[in-house]
């Protein structure tokens, strides 16, 4: 027997998307949306560093417009993405694009630095093709997630019981954990956790996690709407 992939009819007839290319448009929108989610509020300034193929073909593919569209929280099939530069002006978002060499990373990589009045966020990720993405750095920490689940990022002091604290908070809010990754950074002083969950975590859940003594930074990112 030949192996067959689990597929939906709508993987073949779909997605509904804004052209011209799912990796350069839809993928870029998702990356922008996630960068905004990490900031947690509307940005007023953003610097976008484009690498490789993203830098080279951004204008022609409209990747630049798609990234800004994502930062404005437009969905990937919103035709206003084409006019996102104008919308950014209206919404008071200042943006700047730079071309950079990020070294040995995926050719469609992008690095965002964004600011609101009192917060800043730094996010790096790549568009892998077909609208799939990967985030690999948040606030200078290496992470790995793809937005196919609701994602909870937690940075804090590394001490015994941290993982239990979080899973406890999730379970008591009846949240199903799909994947989790825990890493120790900075000579084991810091714990970096990525939890991917089936349902979004309700406000009281994140509140409970924020209240944990060892937690320094929490961010919740919605599942990508495809």
């Amino acid at each position: 027997m030949r192996e067959t992939k689990e597929m939906s009819a709508f993987d073949i007839i779909g997605p509904i998307m804004i052209g011209p290319s799912s990796s350069h448009t839809a993928g870029a929108v998702f990356l922008g949306q996630i960068a905004r989610a990490v900031l947690g509020q509307k940005p007023i300034r953003v610097e976008i560093n484009l690498h490789g193929s993203f830098a080279k073909t951004a204008k022609g593919h409209g990747t630049d417009k798609a990234l800004i569209g994502g930062l404005l929280n437009l969905s990937a099939n919103n035709e206003r993405i084409k006019k996102s530069f104008g919308l950014a002006k209206e919404e008071g978002l200042n943006y700047q694009f730079n071309t950079v060499d990020l070294g040995d990373v995926h050719p469609n990589s992008v690095q965002f630095s964004l600011w609101s009045e009192d917060k800043e966020a730094h996010v790096m990720g790549a568009s892998l093709g077909g609208g799939a993405i990967e985030i690999n750095n948040v606030q200078g920490r290496q992470v790995k997630f793809n937005g196919d689940y609701a994602t909870l990022l937690i940075f804090g002091k590394n001490q015994p019981g941290t993982t239990n604290d979080v899973t406890g908070a999730l379970v008591s809010n009846k949240i199903n954990i799909a994947y989790m990754r825990v890493e120790r950074l900075r000579h084991h002083k810091e714990a970096v956790m990525v939890f991917e969950t089936d349902e979004p975590i309700p406000e009281r859940g994140t509140k409970a996690i924020r209240a944990l003594s060892w937690v320094e930074w929490v961010c919740q990112i919605d599942k990508i709407k495809r």
Binding site: K5, I12, I13, S21, K59, G60, K65, E79
Partner: protein, 292 residues
């Protein structure tokens, strides 16, 4: 069930179910959704297909880069006063295929069928047959499910990505899906549908992916028109009972193999073929410098 076209035909003959209902039933199982909802989901896609197939006919749509656009409008209005050699049905489908891809290149909304680069072929073919043969939307929705069943087999045996398999995998698959779905729509048997898939793909084997400046425009827009033409050729041949001596599943396998051995310069990298011509290079440089 989607491991081979042959399996689809056998299953359909055994159960006496149409290809469309087999695909819909599978979707009901995998998604847990009711048939009405699944049909509605497809209907919504059909509406977006119709909009994108019309938009660039009504007024010229230019791409973001400026290297393509306006062709759909030009052909459509030429057809008003001229008799197309390809006949009134096919020529209108050609214009619609151009329209979808110009809308795509202009950052408009499209449905990837199966990809954005090849999104014009299936909608243009089915919408035009709907117009010429007065099919209902429900019948077109059925045909779209047949197309997706064919697409699933292609993904299982090969791929539908220009970067992996060249343009034969993208526009070739799209045209094969369009041909197979159209044969079913026009009353052909499941076996004839699959023959249409095989014939189309056979005629498009080896087609490389060589987009100028890496943009989904040149040659992509015109290749969608060409894909429609290939589908029309196969539809008539298959409905007449002509068969491919190489079984359609083996044609898909051949496509996969050719994609594998194809030079990577000819797989969406924008480094070979038309992209590497003097004009292709100049256009690319202009786009990158002027706007970079």
């Amino acid at each position: 069930m989607f491991a081979s076209l042959q399996e689809l035909v056998k299953e359909s003959e055994k159960t006496d179910k149409s290809l469309a209902s087999m695909v819909i039933e599978t979707e009901m199982v995998t998604s847990g959704k009711a048939e009405v909802d699944i049909r509605l989901q497809m209907q919504k896609r059909l509406e977006i297909m119709k909009e994108s197939a019309q938009k660039a006919l009504d007024k010229p749509v230019r791409s973001i880069s400026g290297i393509s656009g306006g062709s759909a409008h030009k052909l459509w209005h030429w057809l008003d006063k001229n008799e197309a050699i390809t006949g009134s049905v096919m020529s209108r489908a050609l214009a619609r295929a151009l329209s979808v891809n110009e809308v795509n290149a202009g950052m408009g909304c499209i449905v990837a069928t199966p990809t954005a680069g090849s999104a014009g072929i299936l909608p243009a073919t089915l919408i035009t047959l709907q117009e010429s043969h007065h099919f209902s939307d429900d019948e077109i929705v059925d045909a779209l499910f047949v197309a997706s069943g064919i697409g699933m087999v292609i993904v299982n045996r090969a791929n539908v990505s220009g970067a992996m398999g060249g343009c034969q995998a993208e526009t070739g698959s799209a045209a094969a899906m369009a041909a197979g779905a159209s044969v079913a729509l026009l009353g052909g048997s499941p076996r004839q549908s699959m023959q249409a898939v095989g014939i189309t793909l056979k005629n498009m084997l080896g087609l490389v992916c060589d987009p100028v400046a890496g943009l989904v425009e040149v040659p992509c827009v015109k290749r969608n028109a060409a894909g429609v033409a290939q589908a029309f050729v196969a539809i008539d041949l298959a409905l007449a009972g002509i068969e491919s001596i190489i079984p359609p599943d083996e044609v898909i396998d051949a496509m996969a193999h050719i994609g594998k051995v194809m030079d990577k310069n000819l797989k969406e990298t924008g480094l070979g073929g038309l992209a590497a011509t003097p004009t292709g290079k100049k256009l690319a440089e202009n786009i990158w410098n002027e706007r970079g």
